[in-house]
Amino acid sequence: MNFSAFNGRLATLYTTCAILISAGIVSLVSAPLFDHAKADDNLPADITTIKVKPSTADSPFKDLYSGWYFRAKETQNLQKDDFENPGFLWVEKGQELWSKVDGKAGKSCASCHQDAQKTMKGVGAQMPKWDEKAKRPLTLEQRINTCRQENMQADEWKWESDPMLSMTTFIRLQSRGMPVNIQSDGPMEAWVEKGKKLYYTRVGQLDLSCANCHENNYGKYIRADHLSQGHSNGFPTYRLKWQKLGSLHRRFKGCMTNIRATAYKRGSDEFVALEIYLAHRGKGLQVESPSVRN
């Protein structure tokens, strides 16, 4: 949280309600900040990369924390054990689809990309990626659909469909443990900027921006929810509330609906730009997909 701005706000409060000036108010108005030193005590010894130093110059964070850190013990444990993690049902389906022939060209993903463990290693960590042919960045979903249409002559998969979620999860798993590492310079720069602008724009009847919750208030409870820094490294994620796996854009939609805003569409340029900006500000965090969240 920006302390000088906060104090400036207090100053306005003081001048407007001069009678209320008292040392007591300071402690009342400044709710507890996220305590980094205390947080370190709770870091598990075996997962050191839940917390990393930001690697981008414009990062607003002292440390980056994966969303895993803010979840309850039981939820954390579900993610740590691949046999318990319900997200692995989708991984299995994705693995089957990888070598399933589909479309008029009579091909499967494996026909061209062979062994996913080798050819897809690191790919998920770099998405969204600039596509020279399309002259725009493509998310993993969009890249898969490009291959389905152009290389397999097969129908597109819908964004939130089971096969799409299975395939994106299977491909992201091949980058698990690798740092998020998207390109954010060159032609991607304008998209990072577009996403950043959206991130700080207040929307909805509650008039809040993504930053208001995930940057100014992470580590605090908002009703029953422990606010994280809102990173994307765990997606697709298995949410206990959804009882299924969901895409990052589904999460965006949920956050916007909660503040009573009209959400953008999944796959829209706005959500693609937000996804790019999130990956940019989360560079260095480990890919965790499929993560488990409440």
Partner: protein, 162 residues
């Protein structure tokens, strides 16, 4: 903008007509509810209540915890509601708030927190129309709380003494 104002004055007329015939038979009364466009904040205060009917602290207590309405509990802890789970930590605890603010100051905070705490505050304005961009259709042209609900919550907050 014009359309919004027209919609608003239609609602306004409806309230005035309805209440003068039901509650005050035979009398023509002045505006009963001060609408979100009319309400004026000066020096962090709104001196005039938004409604003629006095706030009901019992109702105010409901609005304070209701997820669909005030949902104040999402951001503010309140010891007097320790029977309810999940108190938020985004804003200061409400314990003893009656000793820190007067009714007129609380009214200003609730109507438009930004006018009191500054534009950066995350506390929503509960009596404002379309403050942010892209307000969802079903909430367009509407305030989060009605004038009466604001008065009810103020009455409830004034009971929170330490």
């Amino acid at each position: 903008m014009l359309k919004k104002n027209m919609k608003f004055s239609a609602a306004f007329l409806f309230i005035t007509l309805f209440s003068s015939s039901v509650y005050h038979p035979g009398t023509t009364i002045a505006a009963e509810t001060i609408g979100p466009e009319q309400v004026k904040i000066s020096d962090g205060e709104i001196t005039k209540p938004l409604t003629e009917k006095a706030g009901d602290p019992g109702e105010g207590k409901n609005w304070f915890s209701s997820r669909k309405l005030g949902n104040c509990l999402a951001c503010h802890a309140n010891e007097k509601m320790s029977d309810l789970p999940f108190h938020g930590e985004i804003g200061p605890a409400m314990d003893g708030v009656a000793e820190r603010y007067t009714a007129t100051q609380l009214r200003a905070i609730l109507v438009n927190a930004k006018a009191v705490f500054g534009d950066e505050t995350v506390m929503p304005g509960f009596y404002r129309v379309d403050p942010g961009q892209r307000t969802a259709k079903k909430f367009q042209g509407k305030t989060i709380l009605s004038g009466q609900q604001i008065e009810d919550i103020i009455a409830y907050l004034l009971t929170l003494k330490e």
